[in-house]
Symmetry: C2
Subunit: 315 residues, 2 copies
Amino acid sequence: MAARMDGIDVLVSEVGPRDGLQSIAPVMPTAAKKAWIAALVAAGVREIEVGSFVPPRLLPQLADTGEIVAFCRAAHPGLHVAVLVPNARGAEDAIAAGAHKITLPLSASETHSLKNLRRTHEQVLAEVARIAAMLAALPAGSRPEFEGAISTAFGCTLEGRVPEAKVVALAERLVGLGCDEVGLSDTTGYANPAQVKRLVKAVHAAIGPERMTGLHLHNTRGLGLANVLAGLEVGITTFDSSQGGLGGCPFAPGASGNIVTEDLVFMLEAMGLRTGIDPDRLLAARAILAEALPGEPLYGFVPDAGLPLGFARAA
Amino acid sequence: MAARMDGIDVLVSEVGPRDGLQSIAPVMPTAAKKAWIAALVAAGVREIEVGSFVPPRLLPQLADTGEIVAFCRAAHPGLHVAVLVPNARGAEDAIAAGAHKITLPLSASETHSLKNLRRTHEQVLAEVARIAAMLAALPAGSRPEFEGAISTAFGCTLEGRVPEAKVVALAERLVGLGCDEVGLSDTTGYANPAQVKRLVKAVHAAIGPERMTGLHLHNTRGLGLANVLAGLEVGITTFDSSQGGLGGCPFAPGASGNIVTEDLVFMLEAMGLRTGIDPDRLLAARAILAEALPGEPLYGFVPDAGLPLGFARAA
């Protein structure tokens, strides 16, 4: 099942409950997560990455992912429930829990892959093949979507420049091994708009635009929304973002890692692109997040500045 | 005399010494201003708005504008020295001081014009005519450029939406009365990329693209650099920005008003667009600014995050 695109132009995929919460020290109580997710859904958010199936000793913040997926499936039938998995073992849990979408990250920089996941490209690709086989064995109607997310696609803090040909080749491998789609992640905040257009076009040419519809962008160097605009102009229709800019390795105060959902939704709606998300209700969800994480810095310009006088959402 | 465009693709026009310094309480000593400007020039900045010819009792921060213009003319012969003037009286001072460029603001929102300048559109346009006559009387080689800058061009905190037809009509009036060029300013941080493209195209169609090459954008709602990208795509080649994001009415911590020179230069150079500005030397200028304004918040993502590993400037 794909996320619902009826009546919207762009899918804003909220990753705060996974990418945000895994990046901070406090563990958000399960009840607070449920309340936050419910508020996001009430604001019109259609896809949320709600957690990650990793060993709880590694990420205690996400130990309740199974329960959260079950809650989302039961309480929010319209929501597209996405989870991250590091390997086939995690995918098994994700399938059992009932996730609609499974994302497995693969770092374009092998140095980064070895350092973060302790795996070579071939080892990660072997997991991809295992997951694809697992999914192929499921009845057609119950198969979750399977995305291979290429991280450090725009550069790496360890390797520096990442050749575009390498990213394209990995995208081809992922699709060849059975991924339904490929995503590109600017893990390090290195991307610039010209590069975004170039790389998206190259990947589209290799695997087809319908196989690569999403970008995961960071705002580390302030270029996040400019990169979104670049993506829009080459046919990208899904953007990951995080409420309050939570997560994505912030470097410094004011410098969020992930692009901020509130600012992204404002930009898109102001441009006349329908997201299905109500900016005011999004602020209500932010208040719930803020209350659940006292003292944790939240980012974003629109929450401080407010909407323009006479602002009207996309028709 | 126009700013030098040899060897560059985009002119980054630094407005910190005017827009930045007029927005903060402390008065920067003249010697510190000179040191800051010298460091900006050393970094490769080719145009600086160095001050404003307004009565010193209104803006004591800019009371030394005459001296600063004279210093720039003597010490930095390659620098294009720009100043703001509110009226013909200020333009007289600017001409006497030897400014290369005179900018007169006209607010598209008449409510804003009345509240801030206590003048109707017609009263401001009468000043434009007076300045044009004054300039026409000068020998051809010694005439400064004359820009009419339309503020609140993308919306107004008092009037809300500003009709695009009104902005186009004012642009035509300004050129008709003798302005060499017209600039558009997003004074309120209301602009979005779709609107930037639409309005720039409309103004270009009315007065010719060669008469409207510059945008003054704010980052109030985080869209500043996305709006720059939009401007680039419709032929804009000059962008105002402020070192450290100083000025432009910041709303809140992290929310600079003006777009930040450091981030703008990074984006352009990363995209392969030559600015002539060295990002590292720009940080040296920022250090001088920070030292001269202890306790004053400076903004920007790149100064915190640093340049990407292996970053190379536009060739």
